[in-house]
């Protein structure tokens, strides 16, 4: 079941495959498969170096317009590249927040000066970004952000706290949702500010996750500074900018993600055969159901990629909810198949097996990037036109 490719798209695939093969069998072979979910805090420096090599060879930000340093690739080509990347066991991309969130936001809402300052180092892999959205009191209710920015002497001074900030430990910049007007209704007093991370007013404290690794962090802002013209989309207009960012995901990463899921599924089948669980009628049902779900996701993705028109199609809207539940169920199935062996870790102090890592990490899948509950609100309201919750 493959995407239909034109001759140019097919040669694009070959080009990507050849380059990735060469790099990941050569100078970067130690990075293969590292830095995935549950393993994001490993090989960070090496992965930053890898991002620069990708950039120099023109493989970062390939979906951006050429005018902004991208390749102007179509969504199909992006999907193909992502698939090849995963196929080649490419490491977790530390630059993905800049590439997929900040870059498109600046292209859409930024000033010319902001684009010129910030886009080139994202393309080259020289600057790493993190996302300053969630706060202790602003999770699903994102508009409740309390981190405050005030203009003092021609620059922004920021006070407050962000949390669950992935990659804050090694990022150079953060786009921070700040309250800039406390008197306005809560959606209207927010600004989207670009803040350098390496400064005195910022304290990053990694948070250890249930799997033992620390991929996200708390970020404390205590008099942190940002330039006055580093507000995106205008002062007090940050909510609109943040919501716009959500619409940029059009499914380019789905094929790569499915390739990863496919490999996990294959591991599960191996486990089932090894433990003899594959002869159990109930496990057979569950494994078959997982396989059916995996294929459904693939067709959903292929339908999304072939959908023409500016609107997000219904099969795109359900994507996050469907894959995250599927993946969480697969993690549980893996442990169930192992029986008592599910408990044995790789070794002390707390080195988990690969299956244990994704079993635990998949519990986050249904929470981050819009929890299941938020996804269902979005599907209900945007997909089905149901009335909003009174607020």
């Amino acid at each position: 079941m493959e995407l239909q490719l034109s001759q140019e798209e097919e040669s694009f695939r070959q080009e990507a495959r050849a380059w990735l093969q060469e790099q990941l069998n050569g100078p970067f072979k130690d990075l293969r498969g590292r830095g995935a979910s549950g393993d994001q805090d490993t090989y960070v420096e090496e992965r930053i170096a890898w991002g620069k090599v990708m950039g120099a060879a023109g493989w970062n930000c390939i979906g951006w317009p050429k005018a902004f340093g991208g390749r102007g690739c179509t969504i199909k080509e992006e999907a193909v590249f992502n698939e090849e990347y995963v196929r080649a066991n490419g490491p977790g991309n530390v630059g993905h927040i800049g590439e997929t969130l900040l870059g498109p936001t600046l292209i859409h809402f930024g000033t010319q000066a902001q684009r010129e300052r910030f886009l080139p180092p994202i393309v080259s892999g020289d600057e790493i970004w993190c996302q300053g959205y969630s706060e202790p009191g602003a999770g699903s209710d994102l508009a409740n952000v309390q981190t405050k920015a005030t203009l003092v002497g021609g620059e922004w001074v920021i006070e407050g706290q962000k949390i669950w900030t992935s990659g804050a430990q090694y990022s150079d910049w953060c786009f921070v949702l700040c309250r800039t007007d406390s008197d306005a209704p809560k959606h209207r007093g927010i600004s989207y500010i670009l803040v350098p991370m390496k400064q005195d007013g910022i304290d990053v404290r990694p948070i250890k996750q249930m799997g033992g690794s620390a991929e996200f962090a708390e970020v404390f802002f205590d008099g942190a500074k940002a330039a006055s013209d580093h507000v995106v989309g205008g002062v007090n207009n940050g909510w609109k900018v943040a919501m716009g960012t959500l619409a940029f995901e059009r499914g380019a990463s789905t094929l790569g993600q499915q390739y990863l899921f496919q490999k996990e599924f294959e591991q599960i089948v191996e486990v089932a055969k090894r433990t003899g669980a594959s002869k159990d009628p109930i496990f057979r049902q569950r494994i078959a159901a997982a396989w059916i779900g995996l294929k459904n996701m693939r067709v959903n993705a292929l339908r999304t990629l072939e959908h023409e028109g500016a609107d997000l199609s219904r099969e795109a809207l359900i994507s996050k909810l469907y894959w995250s539940n599927w993946h969480r169920d697969l993690g549980k199935l893996a442990m169930d198949l192992l029986g008592p062996e599910a408990e044995l870790i790789e070794g002390p102090p707390y080195e988990l097996t690969a299956l244990q890592k994704w079993y635990l990490f998949s519990r986050a899948d249904t929470i981050y990037a819009g929890s299941n509950q938020i996804q269902r609100n979005i599907i209900g309201e945007r997909g089905l036109g149901l009335p909003k919750e009174p607020r």
């Binding site: 049902q285 078959a288 996701m297 099969e315 269902r376 997909g383």
Partner: protein, 379 residues
């Protein structure tokens, strides 16, 4: 393979919806439900003669339009949407498919033009009272007497078996077992010794029948396909039927969602539409998530069939398992979202709920199909 419907397929869907809104309105469905025949002859004549739907998948040289199985897909979705009561599914997805897959030129020339014109209805009689979906379920037997074949036994759960003009009957050679020894026979409705009668069922929108064969004699040209290889033909026919049924289930599930959403927007409690409550909104979101995924499963299977892929078992079973679960889930949630009114005879929700269960158990329940997928995965 392309993963979107063509413009022509979208147009067929729109035309079908316009026609079926009238020809298969709730009122007409309820009227058909009350009859033993189980369908509206006027609507049947219109859809076969005026719209040529019966001709759609039949080759042009046999009086059809020679369109693909993927072209049929939107039509099946639309038929499911309105619970069309008609012998279309049995005639086209069982009868015509079996003839196209296994019929000799002579057999195809004799029967397919009539089916295309809407003059002949047909069905497949493979299942029996033992409730099995595999070859061992075929207990009806045949034996040769000279150049004639004598069939004896009882077929059960035969779709539209009491009205079909032509029955394709699965029987096994006496003494054989498993997939060996099963053959299919074309038996005309008026054959001496064959007695077809309606089996009243919980779902009143689709008719089941029992077929008693008491020494029914047919000549050797009644044999469909090679003697002894009938189970393979039966299975391939069933897989095509499962794919069409899956598409039908998607359409019906989507209708359940549309009913729910519409109601949730207008029904007010605590001073606001119930659709603004997450308890209802999230149910609807889950329904949509299942429906779009079910559509993907059915679409993929239809597209494979349209490509002429010979072994459709995995795709058909995946689609049938997932679409069955989806339709049942949506039909059940539709009742819950409607509350008391959804539980009444007057409201159409129960018609969908009943069709959902009937479709779920037809041609193998989801667990049967998941096991079949498990075998394909070599577990």
């Amino acid at each position: 393979m392309e993963f979107s419907f063509s413009e022509a397929q979208d147009e067929l869907r729109r035309a079908a919806r316009r026609f079926l809104e009238v020809a298969s309105s709730e009122e007409r469905v309820r009227a058909a439900m009350e009859t033993e025949r189980g369908y509206d002859r006027g609507a049947w004549t219109q859809l076969s003669e005026e719209l040529a739907w019966t001709a759609l998948t039949i080759p042009e040289e046999l009086g059809g339009l020679g369109m693909s199985y993927l072209d049929l897909h939107p039509l099946m979705e639309e038929m499911g949407r309105v619970l069309l009561c008609a012998p279309y599914f049995s005639t086209i997805c069982l009868g015509a498919n079996a003839l196209m897959l296994g019929g000799s030129t002579e057999q195809q020339e004799r029967h397919l033009p009539g089916i295309a014109a809407g003059e002949l209805t047909a069905t497949l009689a493979y299942s029996e009272r033992n409730n099995r979906t595999d070859a061992d379920g075929v207990e009806t037997s045949y034996s040769w007497v000279g150049t004639e074949c004598v069939l004896s036994g009882q077929k059960y759960y035969v779709l539209d078996g009491h009205t079909a003009d032509l029955l394709i009957v699965a029987a096994r050679a006496k003494g054989s077992s498993g997939t060996e020894g099963v053959s299919l026979f074309l038996v005309p409705r008026d054959a001496a010794g064959m007695n077809c009668s309606w089996l009243p069922s919980m779902d009143q929108t689709r008719r089941l029948a029992s077929v008693n064969l008491d020494g029914v004699r047919v000549s050797s040209d009644a044999l469909l396909g090679k003697e002894g290889s009938g189970w393979d033909l039966c299975e391939r026919t069933l897989d095509l039927a499962r794919i069409a049924l899956a598409a039908e289930q998607v359409g019906a599930a989507e209708m359940c969602l549309d009913m729910s959403v519409e109601y949730a927007k207008v029904r007010k409690q605590f001073g606001r539409p119930i659709g603004s409550f997450q308890a209802i909104k999230h149910k609807c979101a889950d329904m949509l998530t299942m429906i779009e995924s079910a559509r993907s499963a059915a679409f993929y299977a239809s597209a494979l069939a349209a490509q002429g892929e010979e072994d459709l078992s995995e795709a058909a079973s995946s689609a049938k398992a997932f679409c069955s679960d989806t339709f049942f889930h949506c039909a059940a949630e539709n009742i819950q979202i409607h509350g008391g009114i959804g539980f009444t005879w007057e409201h159409p929700a129960h018609l969908y709920f009943k069709r959902a269960k009937a479709s779920e158990v037809l041609f193998g329940a989801p667990s049967f199909h998941r096991e079949r997928v498990a075998q394909r995965l070599e577990l």
